[in-house]
């Protein structure tokens, strides 16, 4: 067996973990940012004595803190995906609930609602999961429809959200593609290194076979034996074939592949 270093084996083993950890790190950053934003919102609402805004902000704060704790505790990608979807719906649901329940909005609330809705769209939109994206869009439309604001404003908010989502989707996809390309490049290097180690072992074995063949050829017992000579010629023919395949064709292909990268 060709041997890979511990570092390379760890790199291969971490293939699936890397994407998960990247996304988890990104979600933790976003939740932390949300908490800071909501705390600012609370500060402003408290300063202007806006009671409704304070109540909304406190709801957001609870959701954001709980979300941060849950994301920190999640260990698998499947749970992470579904939790992000539920969390996004919880945010939108809380906005809809407040608007419906109070039946009125303050100017600050309108701005914050839009900001929060936009922020919610930033979460994990780039995963291109049709089922989750559809559930999320349907839920968003329902909440948007339930808001006690004029229809033209609802349509404008809807268009703005789609625009922001597409923008974020494009940006995050490029970022993820870059991460994946870097990962692929690292895996390719490990793969090639493993291939080279295997080739190294094979070539060494071929050299040993050559030695044994030459030794047998020189043996006095074999010299007069036509049948044995035939077999020895066949072995040498196979050795030449291996040399031709491994030393010429494969290496030329690898060099061309290297040039492409």
């Amino acid at each position: 067996m060709a041997t890979l270093s511990e570092k390379d084996l760890l790199l291969l083993a971490s293939k699936n973990d890397n994407t998960f950890h990247e996304l988890k790190k990104s979600a933790v950053q976003k939740f932390t940012f949300s908490i800071v934003t909501v705390l600012l919102y609370i500060g402003v609402a408290y300063y202007f004595e806006l009671v409704l805004d304070l109540r909304i902000a406190l709801t957001f704060l609870v959701i954001a803190v709980l979300s941060l704790l849950i994301v920190l505790a999640i260990k698998t990608m499947v749970l992470f995906d579904w939790y992000i979807l539920v969390m996004k719906m919880a945010f939108i649901g809380s906005i809809g609930y407040h608007c419906y329940f109070f039946g009125q909005e303050t100017p600050l609330q309108e701005v914050i609602l839009f900001a929060v809705l936009t922020a919610v769209y930033l979460f994990d939109f780039h995963q291109r999961d049709v089922l989750k994206t559809s559930i999320f869009l349907l839920f968003s439309i329902l909440v948007l429809a339930s808001l006690t604001i004029d229809l033209p404003v609802k349509i404008l908010i809807g268009i703005a959200l789609i625009f922001v989502a597409l923008l974020v989707d494009n940006n995050l996809s490029t970022k993820e593609e870059n991460i994946l390309l870097k990962q692929q490049s690292n895996y390719y290097k490990v793969f090639m290194k493993h291939g080279n180690l295997v080739e190294h072992k094979v070539i060494n074995s071929v050299t040993k076979i050559m030695y044994h063949t030459m030794s047998v050829q020189d043996s006095e017992l074999i010299k007069g034996d036509e049948e044995s000579q035939k077999h020895l010629d066949a072995i040498q023919g196979e050795i030449s074939f291996i040399e031709k395949v491994i030393l010429k064709t494969d290496r030329e292909d690898i060099e061309q592949f290297d040039d492409l990268l």
Binding site: H200, T207, K208, Y211, H212, L247
Partner: protein, 132 residues
Amino acid sequence: MRVYCVDDEIIILRLIKLLVKKEDPGFKVSCFNTAEQVLKLIENGATPDLIVTDIKMPEMNGFELANRVFELDPTIKVAYCSAFSSLKTAIESEDTEVNDRQVLPFYVKPIRKDFLSFIDKLLREDAVLKKN
């Protein structure tokens, strides 16, 4: 002319000896299966004209051996003989970095009859250089 061949695989050293015996190339070849044996000989004054070393060896690889040889005697010529397809591949596979001095002539295994021509060519180049 004296040549030291270093390889951790005994069979490969036997093949080299067999080739030398058959072809009678006009230079003397001594075979060793560890780098340390060669270094000890050089330290004791038994200096060869050329060292042909394998790269992947358990205790000390060919790159390290070349470096140590140059530290002891920079005039000794060193070359590699390896089952890796190129010097670049060998460097990557050994997870190492090499300096300019360690970039040396490279013979790709399996060892064939032209191995002795490879050694002969290096010795001739060396002889021309020394003459000049």
